[in-house]
Amino acid sequence: MSTPNSPSMLQALSPSDSGELEQRRVLFAEIDASCRLPVLLLFVSGLTWLLIGTVLAILASWKMHNPGFLADWAWLTFGRVRPAHLNAMVYGFASESAIGISLWLMCRLCRVPLLYQWIIMLAAVFWNLGVLIGVAGILAGDSTGIEWLEIPSYASPILFFSYALIGVWGIITFRFRRQPHLYVSQWYLFAALFWFPWLYSAANIMLVLAPVRGTVQAAVNWWFAHNVLGLWFTPIGLAAIYYFIPKVIGRPIHSYYLSMLGFWSLALFYNWNGMHHLVGGPMPAWLITVSIVASVMMTIPVVTVAINHHLTMAGHFRKMKYSPTLRFMVFGGMSYTVASLTGVLMALRSVSEVTHFTHNTIGHAHVGMYAFFTMVVFGSVYYIVPRLTRREWPSAGLISLHFWAAALGMFLYITALSVGGVFEGLAMDNPDIPFLDVVKGTLPYLRIRTGAAFLLAIGHTAFLINFVWILARLWRPYRQATPMIIAATQPESGPIKP
């Protein structure tokens, strides 16, 4: 299909000095300028929630092996701190960063500046308000008690209203796109923008506003909790990987056909996942079996993505040494494969009987939400922010510290909980071992987990310092002796009034 806006193969392969090139530079500069305030607002608030969530995570982790720590304050008890951590991370940090990345990617891929920025700014303000009220409500004792939906009923409508504004924006931008052919990342992004409100509203209606009874609650709960990861965070993470890896190394993805196969198999079959978490529970056996089958079918999109990423990177792994974005993206991409394939295994009845109700599940959730998605978010932010601010990252050392602290922290965290969880599950399945002994047996793994949380906190602090530093540079004219990699796309270099 030939269109005036999509480049010919020859144009894509070799740069030219025509007026069209100048137009393209101006367009990219316009897009970045239009995204600057809304995306930076989302990133800054996301980073703030990341830090709040990190503090809550350390508290919760510490309490796992020192239950008396800060136990005299009701609002700091484990039952409140742990869901407050989860919701601050999921709806505060991860969702806001995901929306920010989606905005920038959609504008770049649609070749249109961000339209109606005020909609996004308004949505971001209300989203933050909703998360703030929600997390404060959880700490105050108003949690719904429903996994991944603990935010009280008086705060969740605010989140839904904010999201509706973002959804409207998504449709508008998609409608006015100048690039008629859709790239695979656009498919993932548009699908995620469509799926999330469906999941969130259906789950809230059935669990919070007009709760269903009995075991149906568990079915809906796990359907939501699993799908929000697979149909909200995963598509956005994969969209970012499919854009940034080829873009950074300057090489198209190995097989566009495989990328399409991966997307459509995810879109058609992922929705049936979730109920496999109820293996052994009082649920219709066919419902659980269907979920197990759907989980095993997820091998198709996972393997297609893994093959595609690996063969795209083949011969270019050396560039990870020089590119922060590539480093985080490849780590995230590999973790996606690990998270998904172990998820397939854990869905099997024989494995689930051991691993469910153990710390192994928590480790698995962190492979998906942190080692995959959060690392992809970090990589994306390292690419996008210099283009929005027209400034280089101030410190390469802080980026390296961030990466290694996060990577090492995650390695320790996942290893400890995965191994410890299996031992815990085997012990729990043995009627000769008293339950208290099982609990005591997990303590060494829980202490390693707390150590890992401190490492992650060091990485987050390094990220925060670099982020505040680059924002502080906005008020100063840019003076850089060597040409920046972003210089050609940016026509100006004076101070920016944010």
Partner: protein
């Protein structure tokens, strides 16, 4: 209760159903006609194939194509 069950089961069926509709729309629009070209659509004259577009601040990538600095 029955209505809520219908919402739940309906979601399980309708979500893949909308994906099927989107797939039909994509096939009719010719989204799968030229896959090689689709893979190249993120590259253009400004950021062509072969150009490395990210590196640590102040670090050079050996043997990598870099964009020439702009005229002042």
């Amino acid at each position: 209760m029955i209505i809520l069950w219908l919402i739940f089961i309906g979601s399980l069926v309708l979500l893949p159903g909308t994906a099927l509709l989107a797939l039909r729309w994509a096939v009719r629009r010719g989204e799968f006609h030229n896959l090689q070209k689709a893979a190249l659509s993120i590259f253009d004259e400004e950021e062509p194939v072969g150009l490395v577009t990210d590196h640590f601040p102040g670090m050079e990538i050996p043997d990598a194509n870099r964009r020439a600095p702009r005229d002042p």
